[in-house]
């Protein structure tokens, strides 16, 4: 399988505090990679580097290289708009805009300058189906997206991210604000979509990582400790500390 994103020696510091000490890892296309680690280990920070969401934070300094399809995303010539259409993101809290479901999904398409109503309609339906929420909202497309339950809102957000046809979707603890049933619905959604998209997911839920991810990376204190296939990581980790964390001995 081809590598879609590769990072080399990524350092990130907030002012004098270095949060990432040189992260180098490759992500394969159409796989789901889970980033694990205790709170504050830098996994979310690293995730946000991949679509440059850290740019807006004051005093942030990022060195090293992240390539998306062999193009350096931190090159001064990189167009952020282009990058974020290719690399979408779903956040921890469901963040639908206080608009109708339809307008939420169509938002990214309209930004991209798509005006053809039929095409937008088709994409809205397609992405809502992909996110496994179509059945629940198809009669309420004009209802405010915030009137749905947390799990439904999160799947609407996933649909919104998928509508612009990104290649990679970053998920920052997408189920940690949801109840177990909604979480498992989202896990199922991700599993079904894995063949069409590349997912990189930060999670605190070890079982979730073991259930749905192909690759697992373990972060601690701003370092990438270990990275391998999920079965290797959970069955025979190379390092003691990885084993301790994955067995729930700390963190």
């Amino acid at each position: 399988m081809t590598t879609i994103i590769s990072s080399k020696d990524v350092h990130l510091s907030y002012g004098n505090f270095e949060a990432l000490h040189g992260i180098s890892m490759d992500f394969k296309q159409n796989e789901l990679t889970a980033l694990l680690g205790p709170s504050g280990c830098g996994k979310s920070t690293f995730l946000r580097c991949i679509n440059r969401m850290n740019d807006d934070i004051a005093n942030v300094k990022i060195t090293g290289e992240i390539k998306f399809e062999n193009q350096d995303i931190y090159s001064p010539k990189t167009d952020l708009v282009w990058l974020r259409k290719e690399v979408g993101m779903v956040f921890q809290q469901p963040t639908p805009f206080p608009f109708s479901v339809y307008n939420n999904i169509a938002y990214g398409l309209k930004l991209a300058g798509i005006k053809d109503k039929a095409l937008i309609d088709q994409r809205v339906e397609e992405s809502l189906k992909q996110a496994a929420i179509w059945r629940e909202v198809k009669d309420d497309l004009n209802k405010n997206a915030q009137s749905f339950s947390g799990g439904q809102q999160q799947r609407i957000c996933i649909a919104r991210a998928l509508a612009v046809h990104p290649k990679v979707v970053l998920l920052d603890e997408p189920t940690s604000a949801l109840d177990p049933i909604s979480s498992s619905e989202i896990e199922e959604t991700l599993l079904n979509l894995k063949h069409e998209f590349t997912f990189i997911m930060v999670t605190h839920n070890l079982q979730q990582a073991s259930r749905i991810s192909d690759m697992t990376a373990f972060f601690m204190n701003g370092d990438l400790i270990e990275y391998g296939t999920t079965s290797d990581m959970f069955m025979k980790p190379q390092k003691q500390i990885t084993s301790d964390y994955l067995n729930g001995r700390f963190g």
């Binding site: 807006d56 952020l80 974020r84 979408g88 963040t95 938002y107 930004l111 919104r160």
Partner: protein, 331 residues
Amino acid sequence: MDNKEDLKKVVDQALAEQKVPHVKLKKIGAQKADVDKLTQPSKETRQEYWGKGLTYSAILLIIILVASIIGFIAVHGLATFTQNHVNVWHFLSSTDWDPGEGKNHVGALAMIVTSFAVTLLAAIVATPFAISVALFMTEYSSKKGSRFLQSVIELLVGIPSVVYGFLGLSIIVPFIRSVFGGTGFGILSATLVLFVMVLPTITSLTVDALKAVPNHYRQASAALGATHWQTIYKVVLRVATPRILTAVIFGMARAFGEALAVQMVIGNAVLMPYNLVSPAATLTSQLTSQMGNTVMGTLPNNALWSLALLLLIMALFFNFLVRLIGRKGQK
């Protein structure tokens, strides 16, 4: 056995020691008090009564005050129609204002139109600037810059209206005179003075409105490939619209009620305004300029109270609008 005896001694002693306060209490007949303790208010409960009493009586006083203000204005304002038999419709639709000449010369339309004209014009001119400044402060400027602008706005709010009027009289009126001819007094001058006066009101309330837009909307929008400006006009402004409208209405209420500064630059001629640079008079400017010239209880005085009543009703109307928009925004 010995041990038990010792124990008994110790217990007895302890009981004896405890008894001392009991004996004292008995002496002042407090055994009854002991029994009643649960049904008697404690010190804390009495404080509670006091606090409640103070708050309630203060509220009562304020309610009486507000009610009597409204009552007073209403009684005097309505006297024009009840005692002096001025026709209400005539009052609202005639432009002939000369109450000293009798009941057929009490028409406030010219002032009503002028008041609305300066209010609307000032709001129309000020709102785009206010939104731009607020956007700059919340979305673009550094923290330092926004803090600086904040204090500039607070300064603008703090300048007394007579100073604004004085500035308008010495700068705007001569400027209008030299550009458009005439006296320079009129709606245009008043609009420009009011523009500066309502700008800080609308700006600071708009800043609050924009700050209240949750940050995750901005992040979600950026993550979908929106530029900063797209995020601002497609999400931030849209989410903040009800509160921005509220800000504009507060600005309009301020403009509508402003008396002194307007009176200094508008020319104070109760005429139907036929252009923006002819002398005119608003409800408030007529009140400030005429209240010293009338005798309590006469028609000219009652007519002024009718203007005050009209201002009061407008203030209530603005409040009602704010409430209405607030309720719609919550949906």
